[in-house]
């Protein structure tokens, strides 16, 4: 069934979801990262687990997003990226991302965040050189996109915890899976 109304704006979307104090989210995530660093031997393994956790979360958040946003089918990866940046980040994190740095084919772009609730209160010691603190976010993007038939690779290009001026995720579309209908036409 087509949506009864047009897509909601980012602010209306954020206003319509149940919200909690961001500090609970920030501190919970921080405590999880800290515990993972204690429990797992390698920083690279921590990065992998954060990405896996994010992937699993992303596969579920996309359902809530589609249920509440009134977004209809996106025609291509470019439109999908715009929707995630303008509506998805706003709905869940209360911030807006910018989409930029498209390649010529329209299959690679960057999401840039200048504000990120995950990292309030966070400082990294020198012993965490290889840690991708926000790897849960790249996992979420990957998981959500895979549920709408787009396989991607997500890498971090800029990280404010490492002294950069913003957070930048590079998202590369590797495969767009054609949708397979489970029912055969009878005619």
């Amino acid at each position: 069934m087509p949506p009864l109304t047009g897509p909601k704006s980012g602010d209306a979307l954020f206003g319509s979801v149940e919200r909690v104090n961001a500090e609970l989210f920030t501190l919970t995530y921080g405590a999880i990262v800290r515990q993972l660093l204690t429990d797992l031997e390698e920083v690279e393994e921590v990065n992998k687990q954060l990405d896996q956790m994010g992937y699993n979360i992303g596969t579920r958040l996309v359902d809530e997003f589609l249920a509440k946003s009134n977004v209809s089918r996106c025609v291509d990866f470019k439109e999908t990226a715009d929707v995630i940046a303008k509506l998805g980040f706003k709905m869940f994190l209360g911030v807006t991302a910018t989409v930029t740095n498209w390649d010529a084919e329209g299959t690679s772009c960057s999401f840039v965040l200048e504000d990120n609730p995950l990292v309030d209160f966070v400082e990294l010691p020198d012993t965490c050189q290889g840690l991708q603190y926000c790897n849960v976010l790249s996992g979420v993007i990957r998981g959500a996109l895979e549920m709408v038939s787009m396989k991607t690779e997500v890498t971090w290009v800029r990280d404010m915890l490492r002294g950069d001026d913003a957070y930048e995720m590079r998202v590369k579309l590797t495969k767009q899976v054609p949708e397979e209908y489970p029912y055969k036409d009878d005619d």
Partner: protein, 175 residues
């Protein structure tokens, strides 16, 4: 203006923490998983009380601190106060939340889930719902213990989920 995020972000992260520790890291050692989840909660509770008591005078006794947890602290986290506080006046307090927010979306009756199972091992499926719930509850227990420890009260906290979605947290103060 207090910064907010969607509740499903917290739900997602908490659920994935439980899934990671119980299902991936310590699948065969539930006590180790429980201890880790409680430790994460302890850290969160400890830090949150730091934030929520910044402009507040020192609590005069244990009951005042417990009341703070039941009212202001719980309202910040769960948008409601604890419904009932009981004590035996000998260092044990029972905090009852009649509709604990983090349990409102979990399966209440394991046997219902069992009936939906297609495999033959439906008993364990029902068991696993209850197990996941009890693992999840180590997190708020840790939050409460961390909060009280930061307020100068050394204690142990356990959860009673025998009446879902109501949940009781039993606080035993150490002397």
């Amino acid at each position: 203006m207090v910064r907010e995020v969607a509740e499903s972000c917290v739900d997602g992260v908490v659920m994935e923490m439980v899934a990671a520790y119980c299902g991936r890291f310590y699948a065969a050692k539930p006590e180790l998983a429980a201890r880790r989840i409680e430790a994460i909660g302890f850290q969160v509770g400890h830090q949150l009380t730091e934030r929520y008591t910044m402009e507040r005078p020192r609590f005069s006794d244990h009951l005042e601190a417990i009341k703070f947890i039941c009212k202001d602290f719980w309202s910040e986290l769960f948008k409601k106060q604890i419904d009932n506080l009981k004590t035996n006046h000998r260092g044990t307090f029972v905090l009852q939340d009649n509709r604990f927010r983090w349990l409102t979306r979990v399966s209440i009756d394991p046997s219902v889930e069992s009936m939906d199972a297609t495999d033959n091992d439906s008993a364990t499926l029902g068991d696993s719902a209850a197990q996941t719930t009890s693992m999840l509850l180590y997190f708020p227990c840790g939050i409460i213990r961390g909060a009280l420890t930061n307020l100068g009260i050394s204690c142990s906290v356990t959860a009673d989920m025998s009446n879902l979605p109501a949940c009781s947290f039993v606080v035993r103060i150490k002397t």
